[in-house]
């Protein structure tokens, strides 16, 4: 049995396709990542799998249960940490956990034991009896993760678990996630738009753009698709440089973005001197900088969507500004 199976899952809001026919499977015990920019449909997908939204089309099973017909069984098998806080601010941390445990019908003995256990995992023991209003953002997130674990869920959904957190807290949460996956064999599905996060945590990832899965594989396989290293070159005249580099026989692929030119090739370090041999005066441009790197998920994302996540988000901010 698979932890999650989706077939052609779709959701439309007033005719707008938020999720457009996605199909993927998640194995038991896996950490699976949904990677994509804001608005790509990650949260909508999670909400459908968590029974909070009914799909417009398609079907999905979570832990073998149908998300439309067996809502209660699905709800019993999953834990979820939402993107925005979902805590009762007027209760203490412990009371929030207690409320949750009672809703999931844990009996008293297990409840008390489990509260201590999860508090231990997220290192909130000494703050357990403080009212949540007085928690920092990172503490609230940790408490939410603790709460998601309370009822021994088979599948844990984490929707942008480290959004807006500082680096230190982020790394700590990553470690919790890994140890959780190991100790309790929890299957974890997380959404994120941080490349490092999926690289560090996920065994497999699906890249989502405009509601569709554009690629799905292990991070290393995805990087291999790109074929070798990436040389990024900044020039004074990108258009002219593009034409010049295009002629080079060893270049496997050439792309232009953010005013930079990326060349894919093997053994990039040996190609840099060759680049310098191009007669720049004749070609009509000057090389300002050269950067060599082994492919990252950011490159993979660029390869499949034609944009970097940063570009997408910058243009979104622009759009929002204009709207205001």
């Amino acid at each position: 049995m698979l932890a999650i199976e989706t077939k052609n899952l779709s959701k439309e809001f007033n005719g707008l396709k938020a999720v457009d026919g996605i199909s993927f499977n998640v194995n038991k015990g896996e950490i699976f990542g949904l990677l994509g920019p804001n608005g790509a449909g990650k949260t909508t997908t999670i909400k459908m799998l968590a029974t909070l939204l009914d799909p417009t089309r398609g079907e999905a099973k979570v832990w073998g249960f149908d998300i439309k017909k067996q809502k209660n069984e699905v709800r019993n098998s999953i834990g979820i940490v939402f993107q925005e806080p979902a805590l009762d601010n007027r209760l203490t941390g412990r009371e929030n956990l207690d409320f949750h445990a009672r809703l999931y019908s844990l009996d008293e003995e297990i409840r008390k034991k489990r509260i201590e256990e999860v508090l231990e995992i997220v290192e909130l023991k000494d703050k357990a009896d403080v009212i949540v209003e007085n928690y920092s953002g990172g503490m609230q997130r940790r408490l939410e993760i603790a709460r998601g674990l309370m009822h021994y869920p088979k599948v844990l959904f984490l929707d942008e678990p480290t959004l807006g957190l500082d680096t230190q807290t982020r790394h700590r949460i990553w470690d919790y996630i890994l140890s959780l996956n190991k100790k309790e064999q929890t299957t974890i599905i997380l959404t994120t738009h941080y490349m490092e996060e999926v690289d560090y945590l996920c065994q497999r990832i699906a890249i989502i753009d405009f509601g569709k899965i554009v690629a799905l594989d292990t991070p290393s396989n995805l990087k291999n698709i790109l074929g070798g290293d990436v040389i990024s070159i900044e020039t004074t005249l990108a258009e002219k440089a593009f034409l010049a580099f295009q002629k080079l026989s060893w270049v496997k692929k050439i792309t232009q973005h953010d005013g930079m030119i990326d060349l894919n090739c093997e053994h990039g370090e040996e190609k840099i001197p060759l680049l310098m041999e191009i007669d720049q005066k004749e070609a009509g441009f000057e090389i300002k900088s050269i950067n060599l790197r082994k492919p990252t998920l950011e490159d993979v994302f660029l390869h499949f969507t034609g944009r970097t996540i940063r570009e997408i988000e910058a243009s979104q901010i622009e759009k929002n500004k204009r709207r205001i």
């Binding site: 909070l52 019993n76 009762d88 809703l103």
Partner: protein
């Protein structure tokens, strides 16, 4: 009903209690506002206000107290129901919605919590009023009035949840509170007997569930009544059931 449902009702009730006891402003507000009404209305109006001749041997305080209790029940109940909105706003709604529990148990738990806090408030008003000289018919009358209060509470908390489920955000909140609460109160005969109303207004009053709540409270506390008590009880019970079912239905559809 499964034991799981009882547990859900209990935990929702427990949460309401903790929140109520912890919020000083809510605690003080719920206790002070009705007294403010009672004192100003009771002493202010009584001198210049005469009840119709059909009501002998009654002072205005006797007439007013059941109304004030009804009013307080109404206001606090709708507020308690509408507090669903704040859960939506602060995201806690999602935590409740993904839990493997029945929606009707969630609503009943909320209602149980809301009824408890409003009952505390109204019983307090009743006790103080007795010290102020309210002529209560009998001990059993008081028990009966508590049953009426509970029914008013169930119905109007349900109505609050219905309103909260329909309106999308907190922007329209105060407007709706005003436009819903004001007519319900003014038509219910809290301040004047419904029999004083002109005929066309009386029809509207008869459509207002609170009219039967206030009348039931008057008949059980001071023995003054316009409708048979069984009619008032029946109408309030039906109103309560409809509101519970409707609110559970709409609550399940709320987008989180």
């Amino acid at each position: 009903m499964k034991s799981n449902d009882l547990q859900t009702i209990y935990v929702m009730w427990l949460r309401e209690m903790k929140r109520f006891l912890r919020s000083k402003s809510q605690l003080i507000g719920t206790l002070v506002i009705p007294f403010f009404f009672l004192f100003t209305m009771g002493f202010g109006f009584s001198s210049g206000f005469t009840l119709p001749n059909s009501i002998p041997n009654m002072n205005y305080l006797d007439f007013l107290v059941p109304g004030i209790i009804g009013l307080t029940m109404l206001y606090s109940s709708i507020s308690a129901g509408i507090s669903v909105l704040w859960d939506k706003e602060f995201g806690f709604m999602k935590e409740i919605m993904v839990a493997p529990v029945s929606r009707i148990a969630i609503i009943l738990g909320r209602i149980a919590g809301g009824v408890t806090t409003t009952l505390i408030q109204c019983i307090l008003i009743l006790i103080i009023s007795i010290f102020m000289g309210l002529n209560v018919v009998s001990f059993w009358g008081i028990i009966l009035s508590i049953i009426f209060m509970t029914l008013i509470g169930i119905g109007f908390i349900g109505l609050g949840v219905v309103i909260a489920s329909i309106i999308e955000d907190t922007q329209g909140f105060s407007l709706i509170m005003y436009f819903v609460i004001a007519p319900i109160v003014l038509l219910s005969g809290v301040f004047f007997p419904v029999s004083n109303f002109p005929c066309w207004l009386r029809v509207l009053a008869y459509l207002d569930p609170l009219t039967y709540g206030v009348d039931g409270l008057r008949s059980s506390l001071i023995g003054f009544t316009q409708f048979p008590m069984s009619l008032s009880l029946g109408i309030l019970a039906v109103f309560g059931i409809i509101m519970v079912l409707l609110s559970s239905y709409l609550f399940n559809k709320v987008k989180v």
